[in-house]
Each structure stands twice: as C-alpha cells, then as structure tokens.
C-alpha cells in the first residue's frame, strides 16, 4: 500500500447512483487489480472526515477509473483538475483459477459495477464470461454491512440495466434469472456482489443446482465502511466460519463457504 496524489481527469455520473472518477496515473493503474480498492481523501478538509472507498472499475496501465456512490459528498466536490490523495492498492485482488474457463459474475442492482473490471480481465484471459444482473433482494441495507454513513456506499443500490455499450462484446450480459440452475451448473467459478440476502439465496441455489457448495467455487464481495483499509480500526469485521475477519485485509472478497451471512450483521 502506497500513498498517491493524483489529478482527477474525469468525474461524472456513470449510471444511476454510481459515480466514476478517473486519473491519469500509470503507477497507480498498474498497482491495482480487480477486486481491490483505493481509499480517497480530499485533503486538507476534515469534512468529510474519513477516506472513501473507491472500487477499481477500469485500468489500462495508464489511466485508472474507480466507482463510488454518487451520493457521497466527494462526488459533488471533486472536479477535474483537483488532486485527490489515494491509498492503494488495498484489499486482495480476485484471482481466478487457471482452470476456470466459464466465469459467472452476479451483481445485485448497481453493485454490478464492482464486477466490470473483473469481467474485462477475464475476457482478456480468454475466459467465457456471463455478467448477470440480479434485482435488488437485500432489504434496504447496503450489502452485508450497515451503512449509516455515506462512506459505505461503494456502488449503492438501484434498479435498471447497466449500459451495455460500456461492456466488451465478449461479455454475455444477462438480466433474466441470475441464480438459474442453468447458469450455476454452467459456471466454473462465481463472483457475486450484493446483499447478505443475495448471498444466502446464492448458497441455496448452488446447493440445489450442483448438490454441494465447494470451497473455492463461489466468492462474494463484502462492501462495508472501511475507514483505515489496513486492519487497524476493526470497523470492517465480518463473522466467518473461521472467526472474525476483516473485509479490508482478508477480503473484500470471501469464499462463500466461509461466509456466514447470518452473523455478518
């Protein structure tokens, strides 16, 4: 993890309540991999106080784009030309197994934006990719965490269809049943981003379609407030079958097997 000061080259609403912010920052672009995030601050102000989670959205080795909640004060206050202070890379990259030819990515509502970088990466690695949009099933909350403050709003919820022109043609984008037995049986690997309710439904659907839920098969992204990003503040603890783990240092993606959605609240 390093500290970067980067000039904003783009800051706009991407889709529904999702904001896109981009930087021309080769170092940073190369340091980040799908699944990882950066923590941003517009120094020197103390309001907002905490750093904001920026999720990697796209990166080409020169330019790097992140998504975060368009409702966050940072969205309105950031302008092209501003410098933001970024800590990155944070969290663990999502590495797909070499044998995983068929990758199913499931995003609930606007949380799908957290999977776009991964989808493009998988296509570049010549994997087959289905990006499946799930309707919002989580009841009001934000992912598995509670987000009383806007800081957790990394992606947020919403309805509607992600703009397909932003996707590589190789990506099969589906808006029918994301948890259909057909898809779950087809897939070699699943990554999902959404609410605890989605993850519970996913675990049952996998068990129903494939008889068992193997370790390493499905991973789920935990989207919690992550004030420090380095394991220092314990704000992002999630209860797993291996005990308490921290979304920022042990995640943000966890194996669905290890992930006890019940106690994550």
């Amino acid at each position: 993890m390093k500290s970067y000061s980067c000039r904003v080259v783009e800051n706009r609403n991407l889709w529904v309540d999702t904001q896109l912010v981009a930087f021309d920052a080769p170092d940073l672009s190369r340091a980040l991999h799908p699944g990882q995030f950066a923590l941003a601050r517009a120094a020197p102000t103390f309001d907002p106080y905490l750093r904001r989670v920026l999720w990697l959205y796209a990166s080409d080795g020169e330019r790097v784009a992140f998504v975060f909640s368009a409702c966050d004060p940072l969205a309105a206050r950031t302008r092209v030309g501003d410098s933001l202070d970024l800590l990155a890379p944070l969290g663990n990259a999502i590495n797909l197994d070499a044998n995983a030819r068929r990758v199913l990515l499931i995003g609930e509502g606007t949380r799908i934006v957290q999977l776009i970088a991964l989808a493009h990466d998988a296509v570049a690695q010549a994997r087959e990719v289905v990006l499946a949009s799930s309707p919002v099933v989580g009841g009001g909350g934000h992912g598995v965490g509670v987000s009383p403050s806007p800081v957790a709003d990394g992606g947020g919820y919403g309805v509607g269809v992600f703009p397909t022109h932003l996707l590589a043609p190789e990506i099969e984008y589906r808006t029918d049943d994301a948890l259909s037995a057909e898809l779950l049986v087809w897939a070699d690997a699943i990554i999902a981003s959404g609410s605890a309710e989605l993850y519970r439904a996913l675990a049952s659907a996998i068990r129903a379609a494939r008889y068992r839920l193997e370790s390493g098969f499905a991973r789920v992204i935990v989207d919690l407030p992550m004030p420090c990003g380095t394991g220092a503040c314990y704000a992002c603890a999630v209860e797993t079958t291996r005990g308490a783990q921290l979304a920022c240092v042990d995640g943000p993606a966890f194996d669905l097997v290890k992930f006890e959605t019940r106690s994550a609240r």
């Binding site: 500290s3 509670v146 603890a237």
Partner: protein, 257 residues
C-alpha cells in the same frame, strides 16, 4: 528523553513525546516515543456488533467493544515483536474489573519490551480501587487514561492510588440514532482537541506532580505542540492515523526537529 514515571521506582523513559494511542497501529516507529496496544482484556472478546464506526460531519463515532483475543494470546503472538520494538510497548487494559486487571498486570511484569500499562477507565468503574489493585500486582509504570468528562474530578485520587502518569483522555461519549435506534460511540474528531486541551490545562493547574499525556484530536505537529504548551509531557495520536497512515511517525520527526 522524557520520563513518564518520575514518581516511581521503575522508569518509563521515552525519546520522543509522540505516542501511538490504543487503537492505532503502525509498522513505522523509528521516532515514536512509545506504542500503546489495542485494549486487552483477560478473556477474548468478540467486540461490538456492526456498525462500529459511524461518520459525522468533521469526525467519527467509534464503538469497538474492546474486541481482542485476550491477553494471554496477545502476549503469545506479540512477544517477539515487543522484544524487538525500538520503542517501549505500553499494554492497554480495557475496563472489565479490578481483579482481571491485577492478573493481567502480573502476567506482563516480566515480558521484555513492555514498558508500562495503560488503564482505560470509564465513568462506571471506581478508578482509585482499580488502580490500587493493579499497583499491588505490578511494578510496571501505570498510565491512567481518564474520561475527559470526569478526569478533573478523579485525577487527584488516581495519583494517590498509584498512577504514574495521567492520559487525558478518553474521548467523549456520543450517540446517534441509527436505523431508529440509539447507537452509542465515542467521538474522534479534530474538534475534540480543545476539550482535551482544556482538561490538560485544568489538571496541570492542580499541580499533581506527575506527567500528563494529552490525547484527542491531534492531526499535526502544531496540534501536538499546543498540548505540550498547555502542560502535557507527551501526547497520544490515533484517529489521524486512519486518514493519514504514518502521521504519528511524521509528527514525531517534526517535533524532534
């Protein structure tokens, strides 16, 4: 060199007035005066349910519930790191009761690298009683971290009961309505600094004869110097580390210069 246990047989000498407070964590401590651990308890504690952190304008409310694996495991896991630490380790004790604290203090007595103990009182605990129990159990220097709310009232009794230094202090307790329900947490914010400074100034005027350690809202060397000017011998920094990792070490370097 600053002596934090000037009224005691066993010293706690620090090379720099900047300490990393309990809750903070750093890998870079070439200049920092001492490192306070996360608060420990005798038995492991799962800590508070989520959310643990609620942001407010200009600050943050935090409630950890003293999540920790219990002192025996902390010692087992960190013993090696503490031995090699360039700065003394001060082990923080979270409030559970005087008996546990005495047991914990005794266990730390001979752990290399541990330079002292920091007791985290809260208004519900009889501070003097707890201090006497720990004092009887260990020769390690004892820092008493008092709630800003009642520090002035209990400071003298804490010194009489054996505290070697006072940490001023624990952040003020706040509340927020989260999803319709009351949610309690302590306030960490730059605006806490004037509250802590006031308590340092008032307690300095009591002339208790032991070092005071300022704590609360420090985000720069200038902030730290303000506490030293107000009568503190040292300061602790924590939440600034969340938004600027490594800032305690940088402040330590600046204050040294």
């Amino acid at each position: 060199m600053i002596e934090l246990a000037s009224n005691w047989k066993r010293t706690l000498t620090i090379r720099n007035p900047i300490l990393l407070a309990a809750g903070g964590y750093t890998t870079d401590a070439a200049h920092i005066g001492a490192l306070v651990t996360l608060p420990t308890t005798w038995r492991a504690r799962a800590g508070a349910p989520m959310p643990r952190v609620v942001e407010i304008p200009g600050g943050v409310l935090v409630r950890t519930g003293a999540a920790n694996p219990g002192l025996p495991r902390v010692v087992r896991e960190h013993r090696r790191a503490w031995e090699q630490s360039p700065a003394p380790i001060i082990v923080a004790f979270a409030a559970q009761g005087a008996r546990d604290w005495a047991t914990m203090a005794a266990q730390l007595e001979s752990v290399t690298g541990v330079g002292g103990i920091e007791l985290h009182f809260n208004p519900a605990l009889d501070a003097a009683d707890a201090l006497r129990a720990v004092r009887a159990a260990t020769e390690l220097p004892i820092l008493a971290k008092l709630d800003l709310d009642n520090a002035y009232e209990i400071a003298a009794a804490c010194v009489a009961a054996g505290a070697n230094a006072l940490v001023l202090g624990r952040a003020p307790r706040g509340m927020k309505i989260v999803e319709g329900k009351a949610w309690y947490g302590r306030l960490y914010a730059p605006s806490v600094k004037p509250l802590a400074l006031r308590v340092v100034g008032e307690i300095r005027d009591l002339g208790l004869g032991i070092p005071l350690i300022g704590c609360g809202g420090i985000h720069s060397a200038e902030d730290a110097r303000e506490f030293l000017a107000a009568g503190a011998s040292a300061v602790e920094i924590d939440s600034a580390e969340w938004i600027e990792p490594g800032i305690a070490e940088r402040v330590a370097t600046e204050v040294d210069a």
